[in-house]
Subunit: 115 residues, 2 copies
DNA sequence: ACCTATTTGTCCGTATGTATG
DNA sequence: CCATACATACGGACAAATAGG
């Protein structure tokens, strides 16, 4: 896959790295079930710090696009970044809402009304 | 406010720090508009690393509980952690959904159905 | 069952940048 | 102009989970 990083760009490196993965997933360069190269390898090949790559991976995990596990690496779990993000947010939202006593029906109303 | 950290606990330090703030907000020890002590001060007083405190603050920002700004610090923006989190998620969700062509009505249906 | 290598997770330290006051 | 405070990036160290021999 294509990794693009430009140290002079206004966006942080970790965000550029995350975008590279999102782009690759979006255009089918990498597909569900595939494993991304280890953060160490990416860092070495791009000459950026290991932590910077790990941070990008964690961003993508929070978006629901990949799954991260020690010893295993980063596995792509969704085909469309946008959909994965929405699905992830819905899941989190339903969980958090229930913890303050809001069910799906109340949530639906709340969203439809516009806060 | 009360900062509790236990290096031997299973939870990460940054999560323990975030919990301390959540607790303080929940019980009214700190209120909306108040500023949390600078990450540097917290780090020094608890003898933890600056980044660990900053990470905790960033978690709380993602939850919608505080606002972070360079030079200004961390300002509490919500009275109830749970509500802030839900509101933050709703806001993000509506935004992300619209970027993939989903409006509030479709979202509401999607949430009500249960994935 | 054991050991080793791999890979992410956390924490520490340092340096520099950027926005605020 | 200068001090404050968060943001990013680099580096190193160790822990924990996984996979494979």
């Amino acid at each position: 896959m294509l990794w693009q990083v430009d140290p002079t760009a206004p966006q942080p490196l970790y965000e550029q790295l995350a975008s590279s993965v999102r782009r690759a997933v979006a255009d089918g360069t990498v597909t569900i079930g595939e494993r991304l190269p280890s953060a160490k390898d990416v860092a070495a090949s791009l000459d950026v710090n290991l932590h910077t790559v790990l941070r990008a991976y964690q961003v993508l995990r929070d978006e629901g696009l990949i799954e991260l596990r020690r010893g295993r690496g980063a596995i792509v779990t969704a085909a469309h970044p946008g959909h994965a993000r929405v699905a992830s947010l819905v899941e989190q939202l339903v969980g958090e809402a229930s913890s303050i006593g809001l069910g799906r029906a109340e949530l639906a109303k709340l969203i439809q009304k516009g806060t």
